[in-house]
């Protein structure tokens, strides 16, 4: 493409970057439900501040196809009214957006101090051994992705792992392999959930915070 009335810009390619690009992906468009959700969310912000809805828009796109392709980013740019570069700028900054396909279960092991003090490093090692993958990788069946993350904000229930949006607390290293087996058989039911949240959902008698009771995992 030339902007010049007379002169051709150098069309030759010298050297391509080695940067890993987002997969272009097929045509992407929000489902009608997601479009409706986006249209609602955008009303939370002043009309000239649509860009505020960008994280929400990206979550919707990621929820729709599992990860963010270039086509999805372009769609979000269109929805927001910004450039695709601005979308990529945001996508690559935040850790919760994936630019490559991930497994059905993304296991985020908290590796920061409080969890590490109670064996998070060992948890990662055990999970890694059980899955046969290194942190950052997805197993060949596309079921599990193992990720090390920084503090999840549940340090009293260390070590904590977040699987997709679900939490699993107090995962001892020795129980890590069993957790994988449980996920394979029981799916999301294998997670403890957030101890607070679980009570909130079930309305059951609470243990509350501040109790290391050994047997309260189940």
């Amino acid at each position: 493409m030339s902007f010049h009335p007379r002169m051709e810009y150098a069309p030759a390619k010298f050297h391509k970057s080695e940067r890993t690009l987002a997969e272009q992906g097929g045509d992407f468009k929000y489902t009608p439900e997601n479009q409706a959700k986006f249209d609602e969310n955008v009303t939370h912000y002043p009309p000239e501040q649509r860009k505020s809805a960008i994280l929400f828009a990206l979550y919707l796109a990621q929820g729709q196809q599992g990860y963010l392709t270039a086509a999805a980013m372009q769609h979000v740019a269109q929805q927001i009214g910004c450039t695709a570069a601005e979308v990529e700028d945001v996508v690559t900054y935040y850790t919760m957006f994936y630019r490559t396909p991930v497994g059905k279960y993304v296991i985020n092991v908290c590796r920061t101090l409080s969890c590490a003090l109670l064996g998070a490093e060992r948890v990662t090692e055990e999970l890694s051994a059980a899955l046969g993958i290194k942190p950052g990788e997805t197993d060949p069946t596309g079921t599990f992705t193992l990720v090390e993350v920084e503090c999840l904000g549940a340090c009293d229930r260390a070590p904590v792992v977040m699987v997709n949006d679900e939490w699993h607390e107090r995962l001892a290293p020795e129980q890590s392999a069993k957790l994988i087996a449980d996920i394979r058989t029981k799916g999301a039911a294998a997670f403890t959930g957030c101890h607070l949240n679980k009570e909130a959902q079930q309305g059951a008698g609470a243990r509350g915070t501040g109790d290391r009771g050994k047997g309260d995992r189940t």
């Binding site: 493409m1 069309p11 940067r19 570069a85």
Partner: protein
């Protein structure tokens, strides 16, 4: 004007209210380094090298983001500042490759210069450097049709990101990843596609963004001359500098090596477009007209000026004698005010008092694809002097807002009523628009005489009886009136090639051959007459406008003294021109020279 007075390094300094400490220091000649700050874009405060100590403030402050207040006491040479600054330089250099010898920015690089002055003597870093796309120049990757990007050299000042967002208004450059892994990028490596992309090389304070045009072409110390001039490729009239490379007579390649913008807040600010920046190759290109040519039989053959002139006189007089209304002039709006002034006297002498009616002005327009919100709009008119023609009394119709109306001339030519056309076109190819009808009139014999005074070989010169080689915009001192009505000076940077002459000279010679006496022996003579003829307006001081001369290499080397370097950065966005702030305004544009320190 509201002012505040503060003290920097013990010196009381009074500045306009609202200025930052950094601006105040630079204005007072106190060197403070900076990277993320650029006077033309928003303040970021992220590079941290401009830190200063300010009394009553607990921590060191970034001077770029601190507004001056009355009584503020600032120290830029305090030991604490010196140490902190050196620490930041150490950080900036831990991953910056030391490939200055192969870097296009080498020799005119603020990172290089400021590091010598303010950085630590040596780095304590002993881990390998971060490498993005390979070592050395292999890391230069495509960054759009005009640019290359070297991420290893990038110090993440984000000037380019902010330039695209704020000036171009199309945020094509972003950062990918964060923290230590941050990289400058474009979406899917598509590169930067904008009409003002070349400015990114200027805003980049290191050799991360470079232009393909200047790639490996020259080094600052190969550039013996820099001439402050203006661009004439559209009606905006951006203030520019033309850079000349030192090369022996016999060496191939051009002398004109690049064009860069020169700060003028009223015209182009710190920027220029890619057309003006990159489209100068035709000036010293293969198609340049270097010798006069005359048709002998069917062939157009080179001839000497002294042979051309009498023959030209005979042919013109033949037509004029038969029917004075059968002579027409087609003049490009690339012609300067001097040239238009002489043309006017020529036609009046030749054809009588209303001879100017025989002249049709011509130019082209092209709407440039630019984002709606751009802060640097490139005008549609691809000629510099439509307003000058208007001021001198030529019919320009709607002027810069419209296209010239050549239908009357065309009808007259096609109807055989015109027997001679004299075309004057010092612009690049295509700048007088569609002239196929003229060529057709020549082919079918309707037009007996065609004289073309131009600079490049075109189908029209091929069809002419006489071809008179003129001078391009960088080859003559000349005045142009931009779309704001501002009269600006384009300076001669190089001489016209071969036997080509400056256009006013050709016109004076032709007039003399025709028996008209135009008493000009230099272009300044013409300007003097122009000034006298048009008193009271923007042309009244046309004879007093100063033209820049190429500055010789020795002065350039003096100017490369890093301690003087800040001035270039401030006024010329990291490019080291050799002269100061020579904003050209109507009437008085004497260049202000920065006093240079002798080397050693």
């Amino acid at each position: 004007m509201d002012t505040v007075t503060l003290t920097i390094d013990g010196r009381p300094i009074t500045v306009q209210k609202g200025k930052t400490v950094l601006q105040a220091a630079l204005e007072a000649g106190i060197s403070v380094p900076y990277y993320c700050y650029h006077p033309g874009i928003s303040i970021d405060g992220s590079c941290r090298v401009c830190v200063v100590k300010i009394e009553k403030m607990p921590k060191l402050q970034t001077s770029c983001s601190t507004t001056c207040t009355d009584g503020m006491v600032v120290m830029t040479r305090d030991p604490e500042v010196v140490e902190a600054r050196a620490g930041v330089f150490e950080f900036l250099l831990v991953n910056h490759p030391l490939d200055c010898p192969v870097c296009d920015k080498g020799g005119e690089c603020p990172l290089q210069d400021f590091s010598y002055t303010f950085g630590p003597a040596e780095s304590r870093m002993d881990f390998p450097r971060r490498v993005f796309d390979g070592e050395g120049v292999k890391a230069d990757v495509d960054f759009g049709p005009t640019l290359m990007l070297n991420r290893n050299r990038c110090i993440l000042c984000t000037r380019c990101v902010r330039f695209m967002k704020e000036i171009d208004a199309d945020a094509q450059i972003n950062i990918v990843d964060r923290g230590y892994g941050s990289e400058i990028a474009t979406f899917q490596e598509q590169g930067v596609h904008t009409l003002i992309s070349g400015n990114l090389m200027d805003v980049c304070p290191v050799g991360a963004i470079t232009t393909r045009d200047y790639r490996f072409k020259s080094r600052p110390w190969d550039n013996p001359g820099v001439v402050d001039t203006i661009c004439t490729l559209c009606s905006k009239g951006c203030n520019t500098s033309a850079w000349l490379k030192a090369k022996p007579e016999w060496a191939r390649g051009s002398r004109l090596i690049r064009m860069t913008p020169r700060f003028n807040p009223d015209v182009n600010n710190y920027w220029m477009c890619d057309i003006g920046r990159f489209d100068y190759h035709w000036v010293e290109g293969e198609t340049r007209l270097r010798r006069p040519m005359m048709r002998r039989g069917t062939a157009l053959e080179p001839a000497a000026w002294h042979d051309v002139e009498p023959r030209l006189r005979d042919r013109i007089q033949e037509v004029v004698t038969a029917d004075p209304t059968a002579v027409r002039f087609l003049v490009s709006a690339h012609a300067s005010n001097e040239e238009l002034f002489v043309v006017k006297q020529l036609v009046e002498g030749l054809l009588g008092a209303d001879g100017i009616k025989a002249v049709s002005m011509t130019w082209t327009r092209s709407e440039k694809p630019q984002p709606a919100g751009t802060k640097f709009k490139v005008p549609a008119t691809d000629a510099p002097n439509v307003n000058g023609a208007r001021d001198l009394g030529y019919d320009v119709g709607q002027g810069n807002d419209g296209l010239p109306d050549l239908t009357a001339l065309r009808t007259a030519v096609e109807g055989g009523r015109v027997k001679a056309v004299y075309v004057i076109d010092p612009g690049p190819q295509g700048s007088i628009g569609d002239v196929s009808w003229l060529i057709e009139a020549r082919r079918n014999g309707t037009l007996p005489l065609l004289i073309v005074q131009g600079v490049v070989t075109t189908p029209l010169t091929d069809a002419a009886d006489f071809v008179l080689p003129g001078a391009a915009y960088v080859e003559k001192d000349a005045l142009y009136t931009n779309d704001q009505g501002r009269v600006q000076a384009a300076s001669s940077a190089i001489a016209p090639p071969g036997e080509a002459l400056e256009d006013w000279q050709i016109l004076v010679n032709v007039a003399r051959a025709l028996g008209l006496t135009l008493p000009y022996t230099s272009s300044s003579d013409v300007r003097r007459a122009l000034a006298a003829a048009m008193p009271g307006g923007p042309y009244a001081d046309a004879d007093k406008i100063g033209f820049a001369q190429p500055l010789p290499a020795s002065s350039w080397l003096q100017a490369s003294n890093p301690s003087e370097r800040w001035k270039w950065d401030f006024f010329f966005q990291d490019l080291p021109p050799v002269k100061g702030h020579s904003v050209q305004t109507e009437g008085s544009a004497q260049a202000l020279f920065i006093p240079l320190k002798p080397v050693g």
